[in-house]
């Protein structure tokens, strides 16, 4: 389905289009959330709310301001960050690292939704120490670039270029996996 068609169907509250959206994007969008919120019950609750929000706010989505996936991923990411910062989740358990994440994937191996944990580990191994650090905080802990800059005393420009460099590495290596 073309993106235009998909958006039109969502705006018409069409059941089939919504189902298509779910099948195509739920995995990636849920990943965005569960990277930040590790408790799987809470992550699913956040995902439920975020997905409902996506279908209900589709009228406010503006195609000229970015593509659909980016818009949806940002809604999921913000919902997860909001949840993480709310009182519902104690901050004590917030020691998320890439290793924890990969470990989480590995422990789930063998279920129907098998993930290529080895692939992810290989992918992350392509990053150097600085890049890995940035990805860990921004991608897995839900920090904003300015929060990373302030908390770890790294100049904002450096944070930006490291985010870029990390994504470039990941982008290049994604094809290989």
């Amino acid at each position: 389905m073309e993106e235009e068609q998909l958006i039109a169907g969502l705006r018409a509250k069409d059941r089939k289009t919504t189902d298509y959206l779910y099948e195509k994007y739920s995995r990636a969008l849920f990943a965005v959330i569960s990277r930040i919120v590790h408790d799987s019950d809470i992550a699913e609750e956040v995902f439920h709310d975020a997905f409902v929000k996506i279908t209900r706010k589709i009228d406010s989505y503006d195609e000229s301001k970015g593509r659909l996936y980016t818009w949806m991923a940002n809604i999921c990411r913000n919902s997860a960050i909001d949840k993480l910062r709310s009182k519902e989740i104690s901050q004590s358990g917030k020691t998320n690292t890439i290793d924890d994440f990969v470990y989480g994937l590995e422990s789930k191996s063998g279920t129907v939704e098998e993930t290529d944990a080895i692939g992810v580990r290989e992918l992350m191994d392509q990053l150097n120490e600085d890049q890995r650090f940035i990805i860990e905080y921004i991608y897995f802990k839900g920090y904003t670039h300015s929060e990373v800059s302030e908390e770890f005393d790294i100049p904002l420009g450096t944070v930006k270029s490291r985010v870029r460099a990390s994504l470039q590495v990941l982008k290049k290596n994604l094809d290989r996996i």
């Binding site: 018409a12 509250k13 069409d14 059941r15 089939k16 919504t18 189902d19 779910y22 739920s26 995995r27 990636a28 969008l29 849920f30 990943a31 965005v32 569960s34 990277r35 992550a43 699913e44 995902f47 439920h48 997905f51 409902v52 279908t55 209900r56 000229s64 301001k65 970015g66 593509r67 996936y69 980016t70 991923a73 940002n74 990411r77 913000n78 994440f101 994937l105 789930k108 279920t111 939704e113 993930t115 290529d116 692939g119 992810v120 992918l123 921004i138 904003t144 670039h145 300015s146 420009g157 944070v159 930006k160 270029s161 985010v163 870029r164 994504l167 990941l170 982008k171 994604l174 996996i177």
Partner: protein
């Protein structure tokens, strides 16, 4: 503009992560429309992010999907009943019984008709009240007009008499008396017709239990010829007929007037010249 260094700045990644402020976001959007290289980089980055998310993600459990679609059921239903054409695939399946649109149309007509009826009933009631108010106003105006007419006729008759008659003006003043130094009342007297009018120029108002009384002082002593209303200034007030008088005077008397004047309460006096 150095596009490569702009791309290398890391702004595009932050754009995709939703971390730019409004101004920076607008800038990225504007530049991506202007430079195909930037647009392409954005597309590639988005695809990479999606691929990364897809690769690292697991599907949420099936019960989440059920719950989401249960939450959205109302939205689908509403869309399906309101706009059946919005879901072309399902229109073939969903058959609307023919009575339904008619019932909907009929109740719509009924509601509209009621609304219109109530609207006009209100309007009618409003107009009816306005009409009643106008009628009342009109009758008040007619009364006023009659009164004015009457007054006019009176004045006209007075004027006729005044012009036709031989009136002598007698000025009565309060200068020599204690009651009201600046009091001034004029008497107009037609000796042959025996008619007397007074015109109050300046006379204090009285308490309710007193009246001003006009006296004609002739050979037989003072004769009360009427009560003077101090409020009707500079209009002619007709008094009783007098054939013979050497002077006119006004005194304050108990309400209704007295047989003979209370001289201590003499207000004004004027001698016939």
């Amino acid at each position: 503009m150095d596009i490569q260094s702009y791309i290398a700045s890391g702004k595009l990644e932050l754009f995709l992560l939703g971390e730019l402020n409004e101004r920076e976001r607008e800038e990225v959007l504007a530049l991506s429309k202007q430079y195909p290289e930037i647009q392409q980089e954005l597309n590639e980055l988005e695809e990479a992010m999606f691929a990364l998310d897809e690769l690292t993600g697991t599907k949420p459990s099936p019960k989440v999907k059920d719950k989401i679609f249960a939450s959205l059921e109302q939205d689908f239903k509403k869309a399906e009943t309101v706009k059946p054409t919005a879901a072309p695939v399902e229109t073939k399946v969903v058959k609307l019984s023919p009575w339904k649109p008619f019932a909907v149309a009929a109740s719509l007509v009924a509601v509209i008709a009621s609304a219109v009826a109530i609207f006009y009933a209100n309007k009618f009631y409003e107009r009816d009240q306005q009409f009643t108010a106008l009628l009342q106003e009109q009758s008040v105006m007619a009364d006023n007009l009659n009164q004015v007419k009457l007054e006019y006729e009176q004045k006209d008759t007075q004027l006729d008499r005044f012009v036709a008659g031989d009136f002598k003006r007698v000025e009565m003043k309060g200068e020599g008396f204690e009651m009201q130094k600046d009091a001034k009342v004029d008497v107009f007297w037609d000796q042959s017709a025996k008619e007397v009018f007074v015109a109050v120029n300046n006379l204090n108002s009285l308490a309710d239990e007193y009246d001003y009384q006009l006296w004609a002082i002739g050979d037989d002593g003072p004769i009360g010829i009427g009560l003077v209303n101090p409020g009707e200034k500079l209009t002619l007030q007709q008094m009783d007929a007098v054939a013979q008088a050497g002077a006119f005077a006004i005194t304050i008397e108990p309400k209704g007037g007295s047989e003979s004047p209370t001289l201590e309460k003499l207000v004004v006096l004027g001698e016939v010249a």
